[in-house]
Symmetry: C2
Subunit: 483 residues, 2 copies
């Protein structure tokens, strides 16, 4: 018999790349294993690996605390008889919430409706209505296993292989390029403007669209959707309302579905000066007929409940037929995890002022917001002070995306290894400090540019930035500076 | 602007069908809504809808109790400070398990390794080694969001669109046809032998393979994998070891990957007479080089934890390259839900004899096994006594799949409605009794045959079977019998 090799597999799958858990993350895992072994741990110049490659706030070593309210509700959902032990010890609104959910859902060990538990979808719709000032219909809500599962579903449904183009920002969160490759969609990249704080330029999008119009008939690609990540990942940029309105009109003009990735909507470090506006609100205010899918998640914000795999998307101006088809597809996967669905309920219905859990909830969420804002600002300032580093001090998300001017010798050394120069930089950073970041080549950048993405989640930020600074100085020394 | 319609979408997605949550299930949801409304509830001839269409033991109305050990561990993982309240009240092995997992995992709100938590993969490998008597390597284990997610991943990776054939049993669990349609794989159906207790016939598989060899060059389909569901869904049949050995040799001969869906391995009603043997064991005993992926789940068995979305697959004789590619693909989805991963740990490491939780665990699992065996046997006997109904009394799984001889008038009435006759039967059953089953057309059957699948999960089995009997009699009266 012949053994199957990767050459026998789906060629689309071979083309998938996902840098957030790619070469650097695999190397970081290996170093972590070394640190655990008695034999090797003293051969490394650091005591721990810091996974700054992924927005995973509650991971070991970062240990962002979960919100107590959410976890107490979740514990009661897991084991309802627990109420007898905690009823005089935990806040009454925790008990009431768990009892309400339990009476609606029954066991969290049962499959739910494939779109998610009807009561929780109703609560999501209420949350959206209150956020935007426009109504939302629970039938338009699909609960998902994190926003990624929703994005994957929508791209699968929208893409006719090799015929459908999807406009994606560059840099982008690599879920988009990976999923486009998986479903043989055609990426239509548009560049964000780093010099203008990573703003979104309509001209760039029009240029990308024009390229598809000049294609010959046989290779014709139909642009079908525009992906916007707001606040941006990896950039942290926040769209202003005027640009959002222009984007909606552009979608009208070109009959594009707008895929709005709004998972960082709570992660705004200067919320008074830069408030979040949803695309749903803009679409409704303009009374626009465009078809919008907006994604949200329990993994980001101050909630940070990545491991539960929860999130939702809302359909706006999507026909009954298309929604029925989305329902059919989610039904094959049965249902999103109940732990994530319960998480969504807690995200969209936090304790209100005056309720017993509210003051602890406020204290916990305020502390996380403040720590993130402090770290982001401090890291941006210190990185900007380094030679050859420039970093947009972005108002949102969990990341910074500094640009690197690298010495020609480093570029040449990387070329000899068959690597991008920012990959070389990230690998040497990991080996010297244990800090794992993602090279810019994983998110996309202009030819000849170099970046990396790092999260702003690491506690002990002074020591952490110090390690980045020392490494950078040594790297420049090693490769002879900018000459 | 032009609104998107379903005609603009991925044609492969339009072809997907999934009967378990299809027309019948949607109708059942509507009836459920009616029962909740004051206005309509008295217009229906039943007081509740019974969802016998889906193997969902813990759903409301069926209410199979979860295993206490699992849920106590899960509650402690959700809220570790709970230990202070329960340490003198819950069994010490529960506390020790939760503390061990917590010290390894940290927060269940963090993303884990994309293949799943290393310690839990190690426990899965130990479980497999003990079950089979052959070693298992944790690196070959991938934890998944239920077995469905694993099957979907493997089919996505194995299928080159329109070129790859996958052998599937008929009848089959419609996940397979749905996922083949989604990824444009070519279904190569082989019929199971109903007259021989739904046994698997090598001749049928060879016939299906021979058809691909006679195709003209331009349409050539390469058979890549053989799907075997053991114990069977919807049939409940259990393979004997000799057939398993023959199937392994056939995979050798034709270089087929064997996809072994073994999620019902615990659901055997006469375990002494009919024990489960895994394909892994057979492959190792034969020292066969075939490439095997075997799937397991926490959703079935006596565990029934569907809502957690947990499971795993094991790779056997799969090259490092192919495993790396699988890892890349799961990393795009970040990780399986932690609630499911913790569930897998409890599934593969139940309390042992002598441990404080063991006697309750044994009592709970014995009760579920006994109830399922009793219901299956009673339902099969009573259904077999009905005119025009024959039902294999299968040794395993959660279902029965009775065959119906339907009156010509019923077949004609269905034809006029553009429906299969078993769909008509199932719709009328639902409208008359509130019992929702899945018509055989959703699983596949020979032309002119009619079946339906129903679960053996409903408590109050006497009353339940009585409703099925009364309906059947009335249906025959309405359509004038077999004439």
């Amino acid at each position: 018999m012949r053994q199957l090799t990767s050459a026998d597999l789906n060629p689309a799958v071979l083309n998938v790349q996902y840098a957030v858990r790619g070469e650097l993350a695999i190397k970081a895992d290996e170093l972590n294993e070394k640190l655990k072994s008695q034999e090797h741990k003293d051969t490394l110049p650091f005591k721990k690996v810091i996974n700054s490659n992924i927005g995973n706030p509650q991971q070991k070593g970062l240990d962002q605390p979960p919100i107590t309210f959410t976890r107490q509700v979740a514990a009661l959902m897991e084991y309802p008889p627990l109420v007898d032990l905690v009823k005089d010890k935990w806040p009454s609104d925790v008990i009431a919430r768990a009892q309400q959910l339990h009476s609606e859902i029954g066991s969290v060990g049962a499959y739910s409706h494939s779109k998610g538990i009807p009561l929780i979808r109703k609560h999501v719709a209420q949350f959206i209505s209150e956020r935007d000032g426009y109504p939302s219909d629970p039938e338009d809500i699909f609960l998902t296993a994190g926003a990624s599962a929703g994005v994957s579903l929508l791209l699968n449904v929208l893409i006719t292989p090799n015929r459908t183009g999807i406009l994606i920002p560059i840099p982008q969160y690599p879920l988009y390029t990976a999923t486009l490759a998986q479903f043989s969609g055609v990426a239509l990249p548009y560049h964000l403007s780093e010099l203008d704080g990573w703003s979104t330029s309509l001209t760039e999008i029009r240029t990308a669209l024009a390229k598809t119009e000049s294609q010959s008939e046989g290779q014709k690609v139909t642009p079908r959707a525009l992906v916007v990540i707001n606040p941006g990942n990896p950039t942290g940029a926040l769209l202003d309302v005027q640009t959002m309105e222009e984007l909606v009109k552009l979608c009208e003009e070109h009959s594009l579905v707008l895929l709005a990735d709004e998972v960082y909507q709570e992660n705004l470090h200067r919320r008074d000066a830069h408030p979040f506006h949803s695309f749903k609100q803009v679409v409704r205010r303009l009374n626009s007929p465009i078809q919008l899918i907006s994604f949200h998640s329990i993994s980001k914000g101050v909630f940070g409940e990545c491991g539960r795999r929860g999130g939702y998307f809302e359909c706006c101006n999507i026909s009954h037929d298309v929604r029925a088809l989305l329902y059919k597809m989610v039904s094959v996967g049965l249902c999103p995890p109940l732990s994530g669905q319960v998480g969504v309920d807690c995200l969209v219905r936090p304790p209100k002022a005056g309720e017993p859990s509210h003051s602890l909830w406020k204290q916990e969420t305020d502390a996380i917001h403040a720590a993130l804002a402090h770290r982001t600002q401090l890291m941006a300032a210190r990185l900007n002070a380094l030679p050859g580093v420039s970093c947009v001090d972005s108002p949102g998300a969990l990341y910074l995306y500094p640009k690197l001017e690298l010495p020609p010798n480093a570029v040449e050394a990387a070329r000899k290894l068959g690597k991008d120069a920012d990959t070389l930089y990230a690998l040497e950073l990991l080996e010297a400090t244990g800090i794992c970041v993602v090279p810019g080549s994983g998110f996309g950048q202009k030819d000849g540019e170099h970046h990396y993405r790092l999260t702003c989640l690491c506690p002990g930020v002074e020591e952490y930035v110090g390690m980045l600074e020392n490494f950078h100085t040594q790297f420049l020394q090693k490769y002879g500076g900018m000459q």
